[in-house]
């Protein structure tokens, strides 16, 4: 069951990510990114992170990506054209990314014996557990992030405001 779900949603993730890379229209890229994020939420559930799965859907798929599509629709962004810069990126980008991938995969596979195996329901972090940690040991970082968000709101308003 776990294996089947992992393969289905892992494949969805990969397909979405590749589609993001290959599509030329930003709205198609945005939609494939939503697919990636929603399938990642299922993978979080499989890894026992209930609250994060819900937060992933609400925050990422439901708020951040709505903002992205909103901006794409607002600016009416068309298909992107290929330029000289992109050719250079093709030549440098693909080998670089492939090298990084093979390095990471080699590292993970060579230490595979040290990793555990995940089972459904073996280790589930409940929301109350998570919030207890967040509001006791990590209260200061939590409050600091709220200040960060306030600054971000002010910055966004200042940037997007029309000059009079």
């Amino acid at each position: 069951m776990h294996l089947a779900l992992f393969f289905i949603f892992g494949a969805l993730c990969l397909a979405g990510a590749l589609n993001l890379l290959l599509q030329r229209h930003p709205i198609n890229s945005a939609l494939s990114l939503i697919v990636v994020m929603s399938s990642l939420a299922v993978l979080y559930l499989l890894l026992g992170a209930e609250f994060l799965a819900a937060a992933q859907v609400i925050v990422y798929s439901g708020a951040i990506m709505v903002l992205f599509t909103f901006v794409i629709m607002l600016l009416n962004a068309g298909k992107e054209e290929r330029t000289r810069g992109s050719k250079l990126a093709y030549i440098a980008g693909f080998p670089g990314a492939a090298a990084l991938l093979s390095l990471l995969t080699f590292m993970f596979l060579s230490h595979q014996g040290e990793f555990a195996r995940a089972r459904i329901g073996e280790y589930v972090v409940t929301t109350s557990e998570l919030s207890r940690m967040l509001f006791t040991d990590l209260l200061l970082p939590f409050e600091v992030t709220s200040v960060l968000i306030l600054i971000a709101i002010l910055g966004a308003v200042a940037l997007a405001r029309k000059e009079h």
């Binding site: 939609l31 939503i34 819900a54 859907v57 609400i58 798929s61 439901g62 909103f70 629709m73 929301t127």
Partner: protein, 354 residues
């Protein structure tokens, strides 16, 4: 109590089919109810020709929409144009999966009156609702029509803004139950009937009204139906849609209404618990009656909320767009935050510390 996977899958499948069929029927008859009630509010009859009291009208409407020609305008962006109504309807139908309809009755270890009993049920409802906005946004964008695009932009801005107030209004309820599981939230309210419901005993009426207004905005219903304001945007995001695709948007809207009513019932009005508490427990006996009575209460409450929805639609005029945004950000959000502060303060004062 070992449940084999096969039995679990079969029972779950049966539950899903039953719930979806009932939900679609409910959607059809909510449309009829709306037409009848709005008709009465406007001093006319509403549909009355098909069948007794117009009761067969939904079937005829369905057949008509199904048989209509499916127009595909030439300038639309095809993949998203087709995908958008599916997203809208899919999300609207999905969130019903975590809603418990009746008491905790199990058969072969599987709950009968709920498709999935999950720990984060409330968050799942919120998450699925927040994905539903893509149906509207993409339909407006892919239609390649100015009115549709304006409607879609309005809808996405509106839904994102009101989601904030919606989420904040639920915190008081969650604090009282100290759980996100919908069943736990109802069980907290089930002890003394009416007075232990969150609306009365939990002193969450402020939260309830915030929830109600935010939910009306979230489902794009009057008085917040700016995305489809017919006087300015023809029909908003579904201007270019016809036949079954239009019907899917229509069904999504009413299914969302039903979901919102279910959640309001569960969170603020005690779900399936009786308003009289355990006062009349022994009067109607038998296992079947005990299983079905909670469902009766649940359906009655949901019906009440649907009635309210339609009543509001028949009564209130539409907001202006800047009023809508100002109302959401400058009134609902601060009041919701104040409600959280007051509720937590009271709980800290009067409840024993664990």
């Amino acid at each position: 109590m070992e449940t084999s996977l096969l039995v679990f899958l079969l029972i779950s499948l049966a539950k899903v089919i039953v719930v979806v069929v009932i939900l679609l029927m409910a959607v059809a008859y909510t449309v009829l109810l709306e037409r009848k009630l709005v008709g009465r509010i406007q001093n006319r009859w509403g549909p009355s020709r098909v069948g007794p009291f117009g009761l067969l009208q939904p079937l005829v409407d369905g057949a008509k929409l199904f048989l209509k020609e499916d127009m595909m305008p030439t300038a639309v962006y095809r993949p998203l144009y087709i995908l958008a109504p599916m997203i809208a309807l899919g999300c609207a139908l999905t969130s019903i999966a975590v809603i418990p309809f009746g008491a905790d009755i199990r058969w072969h270890g599987v709950q009968l009156f709920e498709i999935a009993d999950v720990n984060i049920g409330l968050l799942i409802v919120l998450g699925v609702t927040s994905i539903g906005v893509y149906g509207i946004a993409l339909s407006g964008w892919s239609s390649n029509n100015k009115y549709s695009l304006l409607g879609a932009l309005r809808a996405s801005a509106q839904v994102v803004s009101y989601e904030l107030a919606l989420g904040l209004s639920l915190i008081g309820v969650v604090m009282r139950a100290s759980s996100l599981r919908l069943r736990d939230i109802v069980n907290v309210q089930g002890t003394h009937g009416l007075i232990s419901w969150n609306f009365f005993g939990g002193f969450q009426f402020v939260a309830f009204f915030i929830y109600l207004m935010a939910a009306y905005a979230e489902t794009n219903r009057s008085p917040f139906d700016l995305p489809e304001a017919e006087s300015e945007l023809t029909a908003g995001y579904h201007t270019e849609y016809s036949s079954m695709k239009f019907a899917m948007f229509f069904m999504a809207e009413y299914a969302n209404m039903i979901t919102v009513s279910c959640v309001a019932t569960l969170l603020f009005f005690g779900g399936w618990t009786s308003p009289f508490g355990h006062l009349f427990d022994g009067v109607i006996g038998g296992t079947v009656a005990n299983a079905l009575l909670p469902i009766f209460w649940f359906v009655a409450k949901v019906f009440g909320f649907l009635f309210l929805y339609i009543w509001v639609r028949g009564t209130l005029p539409r907001f202006r767009y800047d009023q809508l945004m100002g109302f959401g950000w400058k009134f609902l959000v601060p009041v919701a935050i104040a409600n959280i502060v007051v509720t937590s303060f009271c709980m800290g004062l009067w409840l024993p510390v664990h």
